[in-house]
Symmetry: C2
Subunit: 459 residues, 2 copies
């Protein structure tokens, strides 16, 4: 669609030349890491909350979609302007406004990169827990919008667990202040955690007060190799039931181990049916104790080998198998559907077993790995997108993976979110009465449905 | 009011004789620990979610208030049926349905006592973090409704931080399922944390899946005495900025220390102007390291004495000063207003200083103590309720305490909630646009306003 001339002049008045209209410039804001694409009608680059308010009000008056955007690293299409309208890129609102070590709090604008924030916090001996793979080039606002997690979440929680207060602009252009900059609060409804993970469909976050955590001074890694997935999953349950919570607890299934060995060249025994990477972090003086506790918990029926990385070089070598995995996947097939279902930890064997049955049934390789301590597995279904029959089988199999995760007491996504990719499955994951409440809540924040239409809630 | 005969017969049909109508029986459900009182028209004692659905639908048809109730230990009037109607006491829905150690999850009915749950979890080496003073006789449902905390929250979080999934009945009698039994989730809007702390105004919780934490095997306490509040507050900031998070970090101001010494007989030096009780918990093998780290952080300008409890008996002796405090308070005056404001940790000195100025100005003693690691202080204003002038001055001073906490970037309540006691102050703590959103969210869950009317949201 073409934007009304009056809206264009209102945007120019508010934002000056920080409105991109040239198609080649808009193209850079048309896609995200889902490989979906849709050209926005305009791109706004605000530098203040006031500008965001003005542009939302202007767009609302014309019923034009407003699509907030960090750096487009998400995998679900949540940042793709599928209904056109104005993309609001927060790249120029990237200031770190305050770091207050005694309060364990940082106040930031939404466009600051996760990695830049971590660098600014390091001299204070603090960090912000969310560590998605994209951390170096994804924004804090985007992390919050998707409730981003990462391997550290098993010990330190995901984005939602590490937010104190948010300032946001609703779909009516109202500024709301949610939460307070305190680690405890019982003053009315908890709106800040409601906004986290809402993928820009309720409000645009313009300022965030983040909960910080003291940085550990050291870390140590273990690599545990098991005969089969069940043995590894039992070890995960043992690891999570004892007092020393690992700072990472990553899982690779038999397929993943085989790939890492045969394609990635990782040093792994051929009889390995599953692998856990286990890390502890903390003060150097207590790491030995923590590693001993983790070793005891990792040990049990089906353990084939347990390697302890004595130094950083050895730690890097142990992680090599995990890092070899993603490039190795591409040797299986040119196309990949990667979904991040989550189940209770005790159901991991059933999830992996069920996925392998599906792989046989659809005659396509499926490789599982991910954040075992949270039951959050990345299910990678490999196929050739040029082969229509394969693509159809892949898509059908992934639907069954979602159904399986839900049947096991889990859900569609642990940390990637819903976006466009999984919204059609929301009716399977959420019962009708609860989904109706979500729709009504959306209407309260955004009565005209202009905020990121076509995402999260099913049609 | 009298309940309509048709409603009474519907309740009888649903609940049989589990409906109390006799005034003397209803009286036991008329009050809570706020000392407010209002007689309900009926008391329902459901044993199933289906009964709760039926009774909410019946009450809704007659526009009769529904007031959920745990054991009435809250301090804000949140459980007092101020508009009459039907109190729903969950005392007969008190089953622990599942404990799954590998998933770190327990599934319970809302009426189970916090203390009974902890006892059931102990053999599994697990606990549920919320530990309000009332834990032995308050319910999990009540803890969730108020977002109850306690001293352990500094390390383990409050109720909202320790819930995975909730099943609840809205004001329209719909059953909703919020969240999943996983420690990570990015599937739609986060409704379970929205329900926590909503004080029964959005929905009645009928089942809760709780996040459990491995129980530490040992703990050790330190008592640090400071010259003044500023020195103690700086120590709190230092303690919170280093990697070993204390499992408790309790503060007493100079008034509290004086009372504990002069009235409670605690062994404390007369020049003590503030006191911190600091605990570490974990494995016996690493406690010595943790206590050393806490000692280093506690040490600084203004420290007068630092006592380490080598064993449990010594630990009990150190805590004696804190335990002597509550009874000693009563020697100051017969009446007490106890509010639990919260501020960022770095603002504790300004809060305590401002409160002492208010105490001078209103010529009434005010004693501050509480959970310093969260900036959550209990401000105890002592007065004689029989003296109308004192009562008026006390009430005015407490309004100014709230205003002070808000001015310092804090808010009205850290863990007690709003209820009736603080709802008039909500307009000071929450801006109009955000409060309007809260009201609209309330209307989504409870369109007829029958759930716990007169609580949390201002008139």
């Amino acid at each position: 669609m073409d934007l009304p001339a009056s809206l264009l002049s209102e945007l120019a008045e508010t934002l000056g030349n920080a409105v991109l209209l040239d198609p080649s410039e808009r193209l850079a804001y048309a896609y995200d890491n889902s490989r979906r694409q849709a050209l926005p009608d305009a791109v706004a680059l605000p530098t203040s909350a006031e500008q965001v308010v003005a542009l939302v009000k202007a767009c609302r008056a014309h019923r034009v979609p407003v699509v907030p955007r960090g750096r487009g690293t998400n995998t679900t299409g949540a940042a793709v302007p599928v209904a056109g309208g104005v993309v609001v890129s927060f790249e120029r609102m990237d200031r770190i406004l305050q770091v207050r070590p005694g309060d364990r709090c940082a106040v930031v604008e939404p466009g600051v990169l996760n990695g830049d924030l971590q660098a600014a916090l390091a001299p204070h001996g603090l960090f912000w827990p969310p560590d998605p793979t994209s951390a170096a080039f994804s924004t804090v606002g985007g992390n919050l919008a998707c409730n981003a997690g990462g391997p550290r979440a098993v010990k330190y929680g995901a984005s939602r667990d590490n937010v104190l207060a948010l300032t946001a602009v609703t779909g009516t252009g109202e500024v709301i202040h949610c939460g307070t900059e305190t680690t405890k609060g019982a003053t009315g409804y908890d709106l800040q955690r409601l906004l986290v993970g809402s993928e820009g469909t309720l409000a645009l976050i313009v300022q965030a007060s983040l909960r910080l955590v003291p940085a550990p001074t050291a870390r140590r890694a273990l690599r545990a190799i098991y005969r089969d997935v069940s043995s590894a999953a039992l070890a995960v349950a043992r690891l999570m039931a004892q007092p020393v919570t690992p700072s990472m607890l990553e899982f690779m299934d038999g397929q993943a181990v085989r790939l890492a060995r045969e394609v990635g060249g990782a040093d792994l025994p051929p009889e390995a049916g599953a692998l856990l990477m286990i890390e502890a972090d903390g003060d150097e003086a207590i790491l030995a104790h923590d590693i001993d506790a983790l070793k005891r918990a990792a040990t049990g029926e089906g353990l084939l080998a347990l390697d302890d990385a004595a130094d950083e070089a050895a730690r890097q070598r142990l992680w090599a198998a995990r890092k070899a995995l993603s490039p190795a996947l591409r040797t299986l097939a040119p196309g990949k559907i990667n979904e991040d279902v989550v189940v209770p930890v005790s159901r991991i064997p059933e999830l992996v077993g069920g996925v392998q049955e599906l792989a046989l049934a659809c005659a396509l390789p499926i490789v599982c790995f991910g954040h075992a301590g949270n039951g959050n597995l990345h299910v990678n279904l490999m196929y050739d997108p040029a082969d229509e029959l394969q693509a159809a089988r892949a898509s059908a199999a992934m639907s069954q993976v979602f159904a399986l995760a839900i049947r096991l007491g889990g859900t569609l996504s642990g940390e990637h979110g819903i976006g466009m990719a999984k919204r059609d499955f929301m009716t399977e994951a959420v019962d009708p009465a609860t989904l109706m409440l979500m729709r009504q809540i959306k209407s309260v924040f955004d009565p005209d449905g202009i905020l990121n239409p076509g995402k999260l809630l099913p049609p």
